[in-house]
């Protein structure tokens, strides 16, 4: 099959203003909410820019580099990213792209309605526009995933705070689920805090951990023995009645670690251990 991109490109380029106009009209009729959200000027700009790039891209899409097509993809990706930031659904964004077909096909129909080559033209445009539509979905997903990862990172940052509560005493309040990566983070932050502040006592408060199973217990034991190696004593506070009963039934032996019910008790003990008094 001979390459028909050149012909299509010149047809489109001849009707460029008509396409932009009819595309814009389609959007105003069919995607009211989207037009209202981003404004008519913006819609006009998008339709013009993408039409222009498309005209260039179909001409050179068969070349080895197809720079123009890459540029078009980039433009569409950018558009999709912007739309997802504005909380526009991926369906609406994809529709925005798909409506260009409704602008182009009638023009082809008008000029080549009797000619059998119109089927090839339509297939050609169809495959390009469909790919662009799918691209908007992919970019939408990617930008969402990025957001989730960012939030996870932000969460990890705050998930293990280390507080110096008194001279020689650091406190690590734990909240939520203690998985391996958070435990690792806890160990690192605790040990480096002990090193940096030359603290003698580290209090790990587990009031915010709903379930203490054998894995959490093992993590606590490991943390305590690591602290001990650095010459610091490790207290675990926040062991409530139901957790203590469960731990005993489970068979977890925390006898090597000093534990207290409340953080207040733990702090008092820590002050005693470091021979300090509240005046």
């Amino acid at each position: 099959m001979t390459f028909i991109g050149n012909e299509i490109s010149s047809i489109l380029s001849k009707n460029r203003n008509k396409i932009c106009d009819s595309w814009k009209k389609q959007l105003i009729i069919q995607s009211r909410t989207l037009v209202e959200l981003i404004g008519l000027n913006q819609v006009e700009k998008i339709t013009q820019e993408i039409s222009d790039s498309l005209i260039k891209a179909v001409k050179t899409i068969n070349t080895h580099e197809h720079e123009d097509y890459k540029k078009l993809e980039k433009q569409v990706a950018e558009l999709s990213r912007e739309m997802s930031l504005r909380n526009i659904t991926p369906t609406e964004t994809a529709q925005l792209i798909f409506f260009i077909k409704d602008a182009i096909f009638p023009i082809l129909q008008e000029d080549y309605g009797q000619n059998s080559i119109i089927a090839d033209y339509i297939l050609f445009i169809n495959s390009i526009v469909d790919k662009l539509g799918l691209l908007t979905f992919q970019i939408y997903l990617e930008s969402r995933e990025e957001l989730i990862k960012e939030q996870q990172r932000a969460f990890m940052d705050v998930s293990v705070p280390v507080v110096k509560v008194w001279k020689d005493i650091v406190l690590i309040p734990l909240v939520g689920m203690l998985d391996s990566s958070r435990t690792q983070l806890m160990m690192e932050t605790m040990l480096s805090a002990i090193e940096d502040t030359q603290s003698k006592v580290a209090i790990i408060d587990i009031s915010g951990i709903p379930i203490v199973d054998s894995l959490v217990a093992r993590h606590l034991i490991t943390a305590a023995s690591a602290a001990k190696l650095m010459g610091a004593e490790c207290l675990i506070t926040g062991i409530r009645a139901k957790i203590s009963q469960t731990l005993v039934q489970l068979g977890v032996d925390l006898s090597g670690i000093v534990t207290k019910t409340t953080l207040a008790d733990g702090l008092q003990l820590a002050l005693q251990m470091t021979e300090q008094k509240l005046i």
């Binding site: 379930i211 009963q245 469960t246 489970l250």
Partner: protein
């Protein structure tokens, strides 16, 4: 992921079951939450909830550590005035070679405390385990009021 099954018509009295696919550490949290929700709804005490949810945590994590993936099915029942539920943990993993040894306190093949199975048995009112080498493991716990 969840699937609901209503087996009310099967003539086993009133029972409703929920299956949760366990394939990641996040699913362990989901499994815990489902059981806690149910126990809350059935008005179990907070101590009972903590006790059983801890066992669920151990057993569902065992699925991930040893088999990679599996299922937990919760079956709620109400038979002749006795209300309770069963949790079935099933996987198609490597199975357990020596159940007696695996049930021993402190025995572990993964450098853990080795309390998961023995502890869960002590934490739950009813505990049964079946395992076939190369076929998988099925653990059932039951709790009632």
């Amino acid at each position: 992921m969840e699937k609901y099954q209503d087996s009310r018509d099967s003539g086993q009295g009133q029972s409703v079951s929920t299956t949760i696919f366990v394939a990641s550490y996040e699913d362990v949290i989901v499994a815990r939450q489902k059981v806690r929700e149910l126990m809350n709804e059935m008005k179990f005490s907070l101590l009972d909830q903590t006790r059983v949810v801890t066992a669920v945590s151990e057993l569902s994590r065992n699925i991930i550590v040893h088999a990679g993936k599996g299922e937990m099915t919760i079956i709620k029942y109400d038979e002749s005035g006795r209300r309770g539920f069963r949790c079935i943990f099933e996987d198609k993993g490597p199975g357990i070679a020596d159940i007696d040894l695996a049930m021993r306190e402190g025995y572990s093949t993964t450098n853990s405390l080795g309390l998961g199975l023995s502890g869960s048995k002590k934490l739950c009112k009813n505990f049964s385990i079946q395992s076939t080498r190369g076929k998988g493991t099925r653990i059932e716990i039951a709790e009632w009021k």
